[in-house]
Symmetry: C2
Amino acid sequence: MADVAEEKRIVVAVDEGDESMYALTWCLKNFVSPNTENTLILVYVRPPPPVYTSLDGTGYLFAEDMMATMQKYSEDLAESVMERAKRIYQDFDNVKVEKKVGSGDARDVICEMVVKLGADVLVMGTHSYGFIKRALLGSVSDYCAKNAKCPVLIVKR
Amino acid sequence: MADVAEEKRIVVAVDEGDESMYALTWCLKNFVSPNTENTLILVYVRPPPPVYTSLDGTGYLFAEDMMATMQKYSEDLAESVMERAKRIYQDFDNVKVEKKVGSGDARDVICEMVVKLGADVLVMGTHSYGFIKRALLGSVSDYCAKNAKCPVLIVKR
């Protein structure tokens, strides 16, 4: 028999959307076999912090305050996404899980992480990362399917 | 443990290019586990026969002759692609293989076949189906990633 890869590092990009949770579930059922030494790596990308310019003293204070709030919100969001993912993967035995949270443009961060993490495959849902961002920047999954330096599995609902 | 899917029907779109053979190899090594009841379905799509109009008797005869030659060429090509694929999958034990040859626009035919064959996943290389056709019609894999009614795995070299 030909040489079959023993261990796979499977990166799943997760976000707030149901699509990515569906992709995670599909991936666990069909790809991450519990009998092998596969590692599931969940990647969540926070949007970059907004840049504010201060036109006066009051504005500056307001911006600093608001940025702290948004930072907190962004951290809570990351935590809640990982929590939701956990409720899915904890039903599967013997799955090694790692979690990574990045920050920036999801398209670039995911493509960079795939290299850094030595991913064997990247799994993504479609329609990730919000309606408006998608309209402005194009689909994250389209971009990664073209540019990520590993095979990309697009799971649609 | 959660319910893990037992049998998968894995469709791999193959063509004349090295990309698709690489995708097939990757898929066999990483996705089609020899211990399960997975079925590998190779799909090859022949281009549709060209349409000739006959302006005179001689032209008509010529066109008929040429179409027969092209038909033969197209059949030989399909056979050689499947033969090449066989040299890859025969190294893997216990893999059930089915082969399907379609005809028409690869993008539509693959998306239709995925439904008809009850595919659990579609595996494709990128840059399939020739330089000129890609320039004219766009990438087959891009189209299928967006439109196929099942998860799509894009394997790049």
